[in-house]
Symmetry: C2
Subunit: 202 residues, 2 copies
DNA sequence: GTCATAATTAACCAAATGGTTAAACTAAAT
DNA sequence: ATTTAGTTTAACCATTTGGTTAATTATGAC
């Protein structure tokens, strides 16, 4: 027999769906309650306010903006191998969670939301490890000299931007979600090749 | 003596500011009216509804998501030269209009907003000309063989993503708007170099 | 000046919205 | 069985919000 989900987790699941689809401004507490199949008062009983409920959802999702990829840059393989692993893992993960990039980007771009940026594992994890990895390989003469911060932003842009512009792409070139997924799988190979060409020492 | 702006243009200017800052859901008609320095009823007198006012603003701004860069790919220079010109013009323009990328991306990612995507000059302008330019240069053996659609997305990602993630960058690495601008100016050189390495025939 | 039309305003309205409250229900402890 | 604490509900509330209206003012044609 199936264990019934707790009220709190039912709320969180519903809030996730609605907040991700509509954003905090577009979301309606009533619709979250309806989706969860509970009374609207329960939302405030468990989470006090819309803002706090959103905080909970965002804090949970923020972890996955850079999911399990930061440790890649802590291994002792070469920079190019690390970048390969990063691109592959990142796109494979986002293919299963394609809403995350826009959810994060739209939240941090709203005024008064600076606090949320601190919840993203960026500076002390991926950025720091990326920089150190690059510096190490540069010293060994294994990579071309580039600005590592610019390089990081390029890698992120190439991996993340397609998910942000997905509506434009699918609308203009037809294709359903599966088609987009396939396109992104092919992209793994392509981006890996780009990065090799950028970094290879001639 | 200075000519006073018409009520209609005062409304449009104010609506631009507010919609760009808060999005259609976060924006308040009263604040738009206050910003324009006119009575709220005038908004409806001139534009009938919030949705139609937003439409007007978006339609105007949509033109600049790919500002005057599409014709670059219609010139008869080489693909690499065209990419150079594109990256440079695009970043120079966005440095003066850094809010545009997020405004467009957030709008097209909202459900029920498919109609807005048609207002972006993408498929028949930049995408088409980009593809043809690449095919031409490939035939002449002037560029490496890559997937041109993937390449286009990479170029766009490298140029646009930084503006979308600007809050994350400035929050984590300090720096004000001028610092970010400088960073993007340096990025022009960097991205140009990346693209050369990707496309150069060895 | 007068008349017609457009522009502008203050007041108003109904619906929606986030949030509260007091009562009722449930289940475990004694 | 009674108590106690946690959970759930229906009804309610104050505020906000997009939008309307009716009256007023400015403008331009004749």
């Amino acid at each position: 027999m199936t264990q019934e989900a707790s009220t709190e987790s039912k709320i969180l699941k519903a809030a996730e769906d609605i907040f991700i689809r509509d954003g905090i401004d577009g979301a309606r507490m009533q619709e979250i309650a309806d989706t969860a199949g509970i009374n609207k008062a329960m939302l405030h009983y468990y989470f006090r306010s819309k803002k706090l409920l959103f905080d909970k959802v965002f804090t949970e999702k923020a972890k996955y903006f850079f999911p399990e990829v930061s440790n890649i840059f802590m291994s002792d393989s070469s920079m190019i191998e690390k970048l390969d692993a990063f691109v592959e893992k990142y796109i494979l993960f986002m293919n299963e969670n394609p809403y995350i990039p826009f959810f994060i980007i739209s939240t941090v771009n709203k005024r008064g939301n600076e606090e949320f940026i601190d919840k993203l594992p960026f500076k002390e994890t991926i950025a720091k490890n990326f920089m150190e990895s690059y510096a190490h390989d540069l010293e060994l003469g294994r990579v071309q000299k580039v600005d590592p911060m610019q390089l990081l932003l390029s890698v992120l842009g190439m991996c993340i931007f397609p998910y942000l512009s997905k509506p434009i792409l699918t609308h203009n070139f037809g294709g359903d979600d599966d088609f987009f997924k396939e396109f992104m799988l092919a992209r793994i190979v392509e981006v890996k090749a780009y990065l090799r060409k950028i970094l290879i020492v001639d």
